[in-house]
C-alpha cells in the first residue's frame, strides 16, 4: 500500500546557543493510505510539535519527511503553501475559522484559493455540508454557531480539496461529548467510505479509540504502538487506557474524567 507519510529520524531542538531544549529525539513514522492514525502522549511529549512538522508549518532540526512521495524539506515558502493547499487538510482544536467569512465561505476558501471554477466549487460545498450535516447554517457567521458546528465546518474545510492527508490537532478538545462523538463518527465514516487518510493528535483516549492505530509518544520518543485490528472500540479504549496508565504522569486525572464522561456512550 502507498505510504502517505514517511518520516525518518525526525529531531527537533528548540532554543539557541547555550539553552538547548530537545523536543523530538528522532522519530520514525509511517502512515499508509486510507489509515486513520492517532498520536497520543502526555503534555510536553512533543506530539503537537510532530504534527506541526508534518503539517509543514514547523521545520525539523534534522530528519527526512516525505508526504505523498514528495520531500517537503527542500521546498521554499511558495511551494510549501501550494503543497499545504493541495495535499493537506487541517482541523484544529480552536477551529481556526475566519470570523469575517460565512460558514460556506470558510469551507470553500481552499478551493477559492486554488482558483477552482465557481460551479464546481459550490457543488462541492453542498456535497460536504450534507455529509457533515451543516447545510442549514451555511450562510451563518462563525460567531452565530455552536462549537460543534464550528468544528464540523473546520472539518468540511479540511477535506473539501480532497487532500492526501488530513491532520487533526485535538479536534475534540473544545467540544462537549455529543459534539465530539458526532465529529469522530464523521471522521470515521470519512475514513471508511472516502478512504481519507487521517492523522489525529489527541490526549483523549475516547477520541483515540476511533483510530485504527495509535502511536504513543513520551519525552520525544515513540514509546509504543497499539493497533486496533479486530478488537471492539470499547476494548481498544481499555487497552489505550492501560498504556496511558503505564505512561503515567500528569494525565491520569484527565483520563479518569474522560472515562466517566464517555461511559454511557459505549
Amino acid at each position: 500500500m502507498k505510504k502517505v507519510v514517511e518520516a525518518k529520524e525526525i529531531k527537533k531542538v528548540y532554543g539557541l546557543k547555550g539553552t538547548v531544549f530537545p523536543v523530538l529525539h528522532g522519530i520514525d513514522l509511517t502512515v499508509l493510505e486510507g489509515e486513520f492514525a492517532g498520536i497520543m502522549g502526555p503534555s510536553g511529549s512533543g506530539k503537537t510539535t510532530l504534527l506541526n512538522i508534518l503539517a509543514t508549518i514547523d521545520q525539523p532540526t534534522s530528519g527526512d519527511i516525505k508526504i505523498d512521495g514528495e520531500s517537503i524539506l527542500n521546498m521554499n515558502e511558495e511551494q510549501l503553501s501550494a503543497f499545504r493547499r493541495d495535499k493537506l487538510g487541517f482541523i484544529f482544536q480552536d477551529y481556526n475559522l475566519l470570523d469575517t467569512l460565512t460558514v460556506k465561505e470558510n469551507i470553500l476558501l481552499p478551493l477559492a484559493i486554488a482558483k477552482i471554477k465557481v460551479w464546481e466549487l459550490e457543488g462541492r460545498v453542498d456535497e460536504i455540508a450534507d455529509k457533515f450535516g451543516i447545510r442549514p447554517i451555511l450562510e451563518k457567521y462563525p460567531y452565530q454557531i455552536s462549537g460543534g458546528q464550528k468544528q464540523r465546518t473546520a472539518a468540511s474545510r479540511a477535506i473539501i480539496s480532497n487532500p492526501s492527508l488530513i491532520l487533526a490537532d485535538e479536534p475534540t478538545g473544545a467540544l462537549d461529548s455529543k459534539s465530539a462523538t458526532d465529529l469522530l463518527e464523521s471522521l470515521k465514516s470519512l475514513n471508511k467510505q472516502d478512504k481519507a487518510t487521517i492523522l489525529m493528535v489527541t490526549h483523549d483516549a475516547f477520541a483515540a479509540s476511533y483510530c485504527k492505530r495509535v502511536l504513543f509518544i513520551k519525552d520525544g520518543n515513540i514509546f509504543t504502538e497499539l493497533v486496533k485490528e479486530n478488537t471492539s472500540r470499547k476494548d481498544f479504549f481499555k487497552k489505550l487506557l492501560d498504556v496511558l496508565n503505564m505512561l503515567g504522569g500528569s494525565e491520569s486525572d484527565i483520563i479518569c474524567c474522560s472515562k466517566e464522561k464517555y461511559k454511557r456512550e459505549f
Binding site: R84, R85, L98, D99, L101, L108, P110, A112, I113
Partner: protein, 1064 residues
C-alpha cells in the same frame, strides 16, 4: 521599586506598542513648534514688511493648528488606550489597586509626553529652519536665518502640549475606572459586525452629493445667495460623504460579494470580506479623511492659486519689462542707456508701438464707464491687429484672428473677470473729429500688449480701420523692452525712476511684481503649511488605524497561512485592502475638492480670472505623492507585522517617491529666482516737501502728552488712556527750528511698515528728515478774542501727521488746530522718551469699528476739556514741558470746529452730535458707522449745526460717491437741519483728503510706483489742483462758520475748481 520606576519600565518594555502613539505625538509637537517658532522669528518679521498682518495670520493659523493637533492626539490616544485595555485588566486581576493602576498609567503618559516634547522641540528647531527658507524664497527676500530657536516658541509649545498631555494622562488615569474588568479583557474582541445597509440611504448619499456639487457650480450675485449656496454645498457634501461611506460603499462591496465569479476567485474572498467586516468601524474615519483631504487640497490650491494669480496679474498688467511713452530723443536715449547698461538683464526685445486714442461711447457702461470717460480726454486706446500680432509674436502670446470691418476685439480690463460673451453684440462708438465710427465687439483677449494704465479701455481693430482712425486722432508711441530675468530688475527700475518724466508714464514689471508679492507669498505659505499638516495627519490617521487593525488581524493571516495561502498572496491582499482604504478617500476627497474649488474660485476676488488648472494639477500631484508614501509605508509595516517580511518593491517605491518629493521641493526652491541680496537702499533718499501754507501768519507747533487718569484704556485695559496731540497755531515769530514731519521712531516704523504697502522699499523715502513749515514751540501770535479752535481726527489707523498740509494751511489763516492720535488704533504713536505704541486692533469687524468710533469721540471730547485747562493757564502735559508762550490766551473756545478724514470724519460728526461745544464740522470721505446695519446716532438723527460732507471717487456701481449714494450720509443729510453742503471730487480717491494727495506725486516723480497704487489712493485728477481745491473749500467752510466771513465759494460750483461737484 516606585510606581514611577514601574511606569518608566513599562514604557521601555512596551516601546513597540507605544511607538505609533509616540510618533503621532511627536509629529504634532514638531509641526506646532515649527509653526510657532516661525511666528516668533524676528528674522522673518524683519524680512516681511507688513509684519503686523503676518502676526495676525499666524495667530489664526496657530489656533487652527492647536485645535487640529488636540483632536489628532486625542484620537491616537484613544486608539492606543483601546489596545492597552487588556493589559490594564491583567494588572487589576493580579490584585493591583485601581488607584495604583490609574496613577501608573498617568505617569506613563506623562513621562512619554515630556520626552516627546523635548525631542519634538529639538527636531522642530531643525525643521523650522527649512520652513523659514521656503517662506523666504517665496517672499523673494533675502534674510539670513540661522537656526531658529526662540524661547517664546518653546514656552508656547510647552504650555499647549503640557495641557494636552495632562488631559490625556488624566484620561489614562480614568481608563481603569471607566470600565468593568470584563470589558477590559474583551476590549480587542469587540469585533465589528457586518453592517446593515439600506439601498435608500445609498441613493440618498448620491443625491446629497449631486445636490452639493450642483450648488457649488451655481452662480451667485449677492451675499444671501453666497451664504445659501455655501450652506447647501457644505451640508450636501458632508452629509453625502457620511452616507456614502456608511451605506453606499458597503452596498458596493456587498454587490461585489454577490458576483461569485470574482468573489470566489483566490484571495478576493478574504480581501473583500475583510473590507466589509471593517467598513463600519472605518466609515467615520474615511468620511472625515475625505472631507479633510478636500479642505486641505482647497486651502493649498487657494494659496497657490493666489500666488500664481498674482504673478499672472503682474504679467498681464505689465507685459513689457519696461515701457514708456516716447519723448524727445535725449530722454529716449538715456532710458535706452540705462536699460542696456544693465548687463545682468540683457535686452531680449525692444519694440515701438503706436496706439491711437479717441473719445468714445459704449453701449454698456461695463465697457466704458463715466468714470473712465472722465479720467482721460481720449479714454479709448486703439491698436491694429497687425501691430498686436507682431507684439504677440515677440511676447509669445496667442495671435488674434483677422477682424472684419466694423468689428473689434476687446482687451479685457485688468482685475475683471468679463468673458467674451459679456462683450459680444455690444458696440463702441469712437467720436473722431470727422466722423463717428461704430464697432461691434466680436471677441475678447486677456493679453494686453502695452503696460497697464488708467483708463483701461483698449480695443483691437483691423489695419484698414486703424489707419482711418489714426489719420484723425492723436497717437501715442510706446517703447517697450523685454529683458531677461525681469523679476530682479530692482536697480534698473530705480535708476529709470530717477530720470523719469511724468508724461513718459514709465512703468516696469518689477514694480508691479513687488507690489503685493508678500501677501501672496504669505498666503501660499500659511495655507500650504496648514494643508500639508492636514494631509500628513490624515495619512497618519489611516496608518495608525490600519496598523492596529492588522495587528488584530494577525491570527487570521496565520490561519490562512496554515491552510496554504502563500505569503505573497497575503501581502497582495493587504496591499489591496490598503489601496481601497487609501484610494477611496483620495478619489472622493479630490471630487469634493473640485466642487469646492469651483465655488471658491468665484468667491475670492484674487482668484478672479486666474487659470487654476496648473495649481490644481500641481496640488493633486503633490497630494497624491504624499499619499503614495503613506500608502507604501502602511503596506510595508502591515506586511512586516504579519509575516515579518515586507514587500521589497513597495519599500523601493516608497524610497523612490520620497526622493522624487525631495527633488520636487528642491527643484521648486532652485527655480524660484534667488532673491538678490537685499542691500539696504543706497540711492538718494527722496525728501518730501509740504506745500507752503497760504495764510498770512507763520505757523508754530507743539506736542502735548495727555494722560487721562479717569479712563482705563479701552484697547489694552491695563493702564489709563494716554494721547499724543499736536497744536498748530499762528506764530508770532520764527523759533530756532522747524518741527519734524514725524518723530524719528515713528518715522522709522512707517518707513518699514507702511511705505512697503505701496510697493516701495524701506529707506527710499527720508521720512525722518522731512520737515514741516511750522516753527517748533514758537510763541503764539496774539489775537484779541483768541483764535477759533479746530480739532482734527485722522483716518482709521492713520497717524495724525498725514493731515499736516491742510492743518498748517488752516493755522496760517488764523486758527489753532489740534491734531489727535488715537493711541493703539493708530498704527504707531511716538510718546516722549522714544516710546512707540503700535496698533492693537484685532479683526476689522463691525464690533471693532464701532468701538473705534466710540473711543475716538471720547478722545476728542477729552482733548477739548484739556484745551479749556490750557486756557485757564494750566499745563496738562504729562512731562510738564513748557507750553508755547501765549497759548492759553490764544484759544477761543467759544468758536470750535472739527474735521477729519474717513473714520475721523465720522468721529467729527458724532462729536458734534454729542458735544454742543463744537459749532461746525467736516466729514471727509468717512462712513458714519458700520453699514448697512450699524449707522451712528448722528447718521440717524442728523445735526442742527453747520456741517459739510466731502467725498471722493465712485461707488462700486459707478455712481459718484455722495449723500445721494451712501446710505449713512443720506440719512444724515435728510435728518440734518443746520447749514449743510455736500462736495464731491469724483476723480479723486479716498486718500485725496490726506497728505498723500501731494506726497504721492512727489514720490512718483523720483521712484517707481505702480500706476495702480496711485490711481487707487488719490485718483486720476491733477494732484496739485485737487489739493488747492480741497484746502480752499475747507478754509472757506471754517471762515464762514467760525469767523462769520461770507464765502461765495460755497454758494455754487466754481470755475476755478472744476474737479469739485456740488451735490444737491
Amino acid at each position: 521599586m516606585t510606581l514611577f520606576a514601574v511606569a518608566k519600565k513599562n514604557i521601555k518594555g512596551n516601546f513597540k506598542s507605544y511607538l505609533i502613539y509616540f510618533i503621532s505625538m511627536l509629529f504634532s509637537v514638531v509641526i506646532y513648534y515649527t509653526f510657532v517658532s516661525l511666528q516668533y522669528s524676528t528674522e522673518i518679521a524683519k524680512g516681511i514688511e507688513s509684519s503686523q498682518a503676518m502676526q495676525s495670520i499666524f495667530m489664526v493659523a496657530s489656533v487652527i493648528l492647536i485645535l487640529f493637533v488636540s483632536v489628532f492626539i486625542l484620537y491616537s490616544n484613544n486608539t492606543f488606550a483601546r489596545k492597552r485595555k487588556k493589559e490594564v485588566g491583567l494588572y487589576s486581576l493580579l490584585g493591583l489597586q485601581r488607584k495604583t493602576i490609574g496613577r501608573m498609567l498617568f505617569y506613563e503618559n506623562f513621562i512619554m509626553g515630556t520626552v516627546v516634547l523635548v525631542i519634538g522641540i529639538a527636531v522642530g528647531t531643525f525643521l523650522s529652519r527649512l520652513f523659514s527658507m521656503i517662506l523666504i524664497r517665496l517672499l523673494g527676500i533675502s534674510v539670513d536665518v540661522g537656526m531658529v530657536f526662540s524661547l517664546k516658541a518653546v514656552i508656547n509649545t510647552t504650555i499647549v502640549f503640557m495641557a494636552i498631555i495632562l488631559f490625556t494622562s488624566i484620561q489614562g488615569y480614568r481608563l481603569i475606572y471607566k470600565f468593568k474588568l470584563i470589558e477590559l479583557f474583551r476590549a480587542e474582541q469587540v469585533g465589528e459586525q457586518q453592517p446593515k445597509t439600506s439601498v435608500i440611504s445609498g441613493i440618498l448619499a448620491v443625491l446629497c452629493l449631486v445636490l452639493g456639487y450642483w450648488f457649488s457650480f451655481q452662480r451667485f450675485s449677492n451675499n444671501e445667495e453666497v451664504l445659501s449656496n455655501i450652506g447647501i454645498t457644505l451640508v450636501g457634501i458632508i452629509l453625502g460623504t457620511i452616507l456614502l461611506f456608511s451605506s453606499a460603499v458597503v452596498l458596493l462591496l456587498k454587490m461585489k460579494k454577490r458576483n461569485k465569479k470574482s468573489y470566489y476567485n483566490g484571495m478576493n474572498l478574504v480581501t473583500t470580506s475583510n473590507l466589509v467586516y471593517r467598513i463600519k468601524g472605518n466609515s467615520r474615519m474615511l468620511s472625515v479623511i475625505s472631507l479633510l483631504s478636500a479642505v486641505a487640497l482647497s486651502a493649498v490650491t487657494v494659496g497657490v492659486g493666489m500666488y500664481y494669480g498674482f504673478e499672472e496679474n503682474a504679467r498681464l498688467a505689465t507685459p513689457f519689462s519696461y515701457m514708456y511713452i516716447s519723448q524727445d530723443e535725449t530722454f529716449n536715449k538715456s532710458v535706452d542707456n540705462i536699460i542696456r547698461g544693465d548687463e545682468e538683464h540683457s535686452v531680449v526685445a525692444q519694440m515701438n508701438i503706436s496706439v491711437a486714442k479717441s473719445k468714445g461711447e459704449a453701449s454698456s457702461s461695463d465697457i466704458l464707464s463715466g468714470r473712465e470717460a472722465n479720467a482721460d480726454e481720449n479714454p479709448v486706446k486703439i491698436i491694429s491687429v497687425g501691430q498686436y500680432n507682431k507684439i504677440a509674436n515677440i511676447l509669445e502670446l496667442t495671435a488674434l484672428p483677422s477682424i472684419e470691418n466694423e468689428k473689434t476685439i476687446a482687451i479685457r480690463p485688468m482685475y475683471t473677470d468679463y468673458e467674451s460673451s459679456d462683450y459680444e453684440g455690444e458696440t463702441i462708438t469712437l467720436n473722431l473729429p470727422k466722423e463717428d465710427i461704430t464697432l461691434e465687439f466680436v471677441g475678447m483677449t486677456v493679453e494686453r500688449v502695452i503696460n497697464w494704465s488708467y483708463p483701461d479701455v483698449m480695443i483691437v481693430v483691423n489695419d484698414e480701420a486703424y489707419n482711418k482712425i489714426e489719420a484723425q486722432s492723436s497717437t501715442v508711441d510706446y517703447v517697450g523692452y523685454v529683458v531677461e530675468d525681469q523679476k530682479t530688475t530692482k536697480k534698473t527700475t530705480d535708476a529709470l525712476a530717477a530720470i523719469k518724466m511724468p508724461q513718459s508714464k514709465l512703468s516696469t514689471f518689477y514694480t508691479e511684481y513687488r507690489l503685493g508679492i508678500e501677501g501672496a507669498a504669505f498666503n501660499v505659505f500659511i495655507l500650504g503649511f496648514l494643508g500639508l499638516v492636514f494631509i500628513m495627519a490624515t495619512g497618519s490617521i489611516i496608518y495608525f488605524k490600519q496598523l492596529s487593525e492588522v495587528t488584530s488581524d494577525k491570527p487570521r493571516y496565520e490561519i490562512l497561512s496554515k491552510i496554504g495561502v502563500s505569503n505573497r498572496d497575503i501581502h497582495m491582499s493587504i496591499l489591496k485592502q490598503n489601496a481601497f482604504i487609501f484610494g477611496l478617500p483620495l478619489v472622493i476627497g479630490v471630487a469634493h475638492y473640485m466642487a469646492i474649488i469651483n465655488f471658491l474660485k468665484r468667491f475670492f476676488s484674487n482668484l478672479a480670472g486666474v487659470n487654476l488648472i496648473q495649481p490644481i494639477v500641481l496640488c493633486v500631484i503633490i497630494f497624491g505623492f504624499i499619499y503614495a508614501i503613506y500608502f507604501g509605508v502602511t503596506v510595508n509595516s502591515s506586511t512586516k507585522s504579519v509575516s515579518g517580511k515586507s514587500i521589497p518593491i513597495v519599500g523601493a517605491l516608497v524610497t523612490l517617491v520620497f526622493m522624487l518629493m525631495i527633488a520636487l521641493v528642491g527643484a521648486l526652491l532652485w527655480t524660484t529666482p534667488p532673491a538678490e541680496k537685499e542691500e539696504s537702499y543706497t540711492g538718494e533718499k527722496v525728501i518730501l516737501e509740504l506745500p507752503k501754507p497760504t495764510g498770512q501768519y507763520e505757523v508754530g507747533t507743539t506736542e502735548i502728552h495727555l494722560v487721562d487718569d479717569t479712563r482705563v484704556d479701552p484697547w489694552v485695559n491695563d493702564k489709563v488712556r494716554e494721547l499724543m496731540i499736536s497744536i498748530w497755531y499762528p506764530a508770532q515769530e520764527e523759533s530756532e527750528e522747524k518741527a519734524l514731519y514725524m518723530k524719528p521712531k515713528a518715522a522709522k516704523y512707517y518707513d518699514e511698515n507702511t511705505v512697503t504697502t505701496i510697493g516701495l522699499h524701506p529707506g527710499q523715502i527720508d521720512l525722518s528728515g522731512t520737515v514741516t513749515n511750522a516753527w517748533l514751540n514758537a510763541p503764539v501770535e496774539n489775537s484779541d478774542k483768541g483764535w477759533p479752535v479746530i480739532l482734527y481726527s485722522p483716518g482709521g489707523t492713520v497717524p495724525r501727521n498725514f493731515g499736516t498740509a491742510v492743518v498748517e494751511d488752516l493755522a496760517s489763516r488764523g486758527y489753532v488746530v489740534v491734531t489727535v492720535d488715537h493711541t493703539y488704533e493708530t498704527s504707531a504713536v511716538e510718546f516722549p522718551g522714544e516710546r512707540l505704541e503700535t496698533g492693537k486692533l484685532k479683526a476689522m469687524n463691525a464690533e471693532t469699528i464701532l468701538k473705534m468710533l466710540d473711543v475716538r469721540v471720547d478722545d476728542m471730547r477729552y482733548v477739548l476739556d484739556q484745551l479749556a485747562e490750557i486756557q485757564d493757564g494750566k499745563n496738562p502735559d504729562h512731562e510738564q514741558s513748557e507750553l508755547p508762550l501765549g497759548l492759553g490766551r490764544a484759544l477761543n473756545l467759544t468758536k470750535v470746529g472739527i474735521f477729519g478724514h474717513s473714520a475721523g470724519g465720522a468721529t467729527s460728526a458724532q462729536v458734534m452730535y454729542e458735544d454742543d461745544r463744537v459749532d461746525a464740522g467736516i466729514d471727509m470721505d468717512g462712513t458714519m458707522g458700520y453699514m448697512p446695519d450699524y449707522p451712528l446716532p448722528v447718521a440717524k438723527y442728523g445735526l442742527n449745526r453747520p456741517f459739510m460732507l466731502m467725498n471722493s471717487g465712485y461707488n462700486k456701481d459707478g455712481e459718484v460717491d455722495s449723500h445721494l449714494t451712501a446710505d449713512d450720509r443720506n440719512s444724515f443729510w435728510k435728518n440734518s437741519t443746520g447749514w449743510k453742503l455736500d462736495l464731491a471730487i469724483p476723480e479723486g480717491a479716498h486718500y485725496t483728503f490726506t497728505d498723500y494727495q501731494i506726497l504721492f506725486p512727489q514720490l512718483d516723480r523720483k521712484l517707481s510706483i505702480s500706476p495702480r497704487v496711485i490711481q487707487q489712493s488719490i485718483g486720476t485728477a491733477e494732484s496739485d489742483q485737487v489739493f488747492e481745491a480741497q484746502k480752499n473749500y475747507i478754509a472757506a467752510f471754517f471762515e464762514l462758520h467760525l469767523k462769520d466771513i461770507p464765502q461765495p465759494l460755497l454758494d455754487s460750483p466754481s470755475t476755478l475748481y472744476p474737479e469739485v461737484e456740488f451735490i444737491k
